[in-house]
Symmetry: C2
Subunit: 239 residues, 2 copies
């Protein structure tokens, strides 16, 4: 196979959690893939793999990228460097490789670590997916943005001053990666008088989904949790 035309490197968004929120394209490509890679924790199941499980062929070669789950640390680059070389070997041999990505590959995804290493050497196609942001606003059953609103997406680990400035500059705000920052974020939003306009969602679209007004959210939030804030007043009805 080494004289073969190189394969294509697919970054496939599998959506926020509910397997039915995969796209038809993601389902088709994964079902056809002989080589499937995905991030996985050092103990327990890969979330991306679990979402796509029913589409993965029984005879697929699987490449789990074991990323130690450390609080607030960006993942060890050696894991991605090693996986990139394994994947490069398959691509060079003419095989396509499907990389499964939670949500959308380019929206705060670890896919970028492989992409940075492989996209200049091999043909790459990214299949967009439903983001956790879309899933959270659907879960809250509340429009995220309307008309000429500015939407700002902010990672919760940022310091309070940054958060405050950026929240002030937008009509709609999503705070991602809430996790252990929830008590601090809640205090900040209280001080900004925004708690009443804020919703809390964890594990959007999964059976375990939790949707609450921010005031009622638990202090111990999982990593996959989000706060959505709408600062306008009844913005949807008046023309």
């Amino acid at each position: 196979m080494s004289d073969a035309r190189p394969g294509t490197f697919y970054g496939i968004g599998v959506g926020p959690g509910d397997p039915e929120l995969m796209t038809l394209k993601a389902h088709r490509l994964i079902s056809a893939s002989r080589i499937v890679a995905y991030p996985a924790p050092d103990s327990g199941e890969s979330f991306a793999r679990a979402i796509a499980a029913d589409a993965i062929r029984p005879d697929a070669v699987e490449i789990p990228m074991i990323v130690p789950m450390r609080v607030e640390r960006f993942p060890a680059q050696d894991v991605y460097a090693g996986a990139a070389e394994t994947i490069a070997g398959h691509l060079a041999a003419g095989e396509d490789v499907a990389v499964l990505c939670e949500g959308d590959p380019f929206f705060y995804g670890s896919f970028m670590y492989l992409f940075a290493r492989l996209s200049e050497r091999f043909a790459c196609e990214v299949v967009p997916g439903v983001s956790s942001l879309a899933a959270c606003s659907a879960a809250l059953t509340r429009p995220l943005t309307a008309r000429n609103d500015v939407l700002t997406v902010i990672p919760g680990p940022l310091p309070d001053d940054d958060l405050r400035a950026r929240i002030n500059g937008a009509e709609a705000v999503a705070i991602m990666k809430v996790g252990r920052h929830l008590p601090r974020l809640r205090a900040l939003l209280d001080a900004m008088d925004l708690t009443a306009q804020a919703g809390y969602v964890e594990r959007a679209s999964l059976r375990e989904q939790v949707v609450l007004p921010l005031a009622d959210a638990p202090d111990a939030a999982p990593y996959f949790s989000m706060i959505l804030i709408y600062k306008g007043n009844d913005p949807w009805l008046t023309p």
Copy 2:
């Protein structure tokens, strides 16, 4: 049927344009729907309907919401008020109604005009979809956000001073609804020395998709076009 339990009102994201970027759930629900509503221009085809066409049952009752296409005007509310009453009649009679929405229903969608009128009277479920934002970053084959980046989504019609302030406060910026504002936006981004980091996409995920560096974009952009800006430097490789 008037004694029936009321139906459910579904807002279904059909994705950015490629019918294969519909979710499995959107496809299943549309295929099962006996009543399907969608926005349509006063001449020509409905984009949302065209995306979902293969899933719509031949015997479905279709409710087009004819929205006159005026430049930069928010749609006439009487169209949505009338459609909401028609839809309410079906729901009250016990029928489910599927409203087809381009992209994601709650991401700058006209769905909110129906949602505002019906969601308190009837059970409502929103099915999130792949947004134009995700489709544009996939089309550019470039990560949109990484790690603790702040992403800001800004409608192009906003005045220059607003745009400038909001672009300054983010690492990643998406300017939506570019259309006839392109020459002005390009001049602004030139003045901010950001043109080299900006990509232009029109009609993402469709066969007619155009992907260009902003410097090469045509002056006459369609409404469905977007500018994506990444202000960081090689942010994806260094840990």
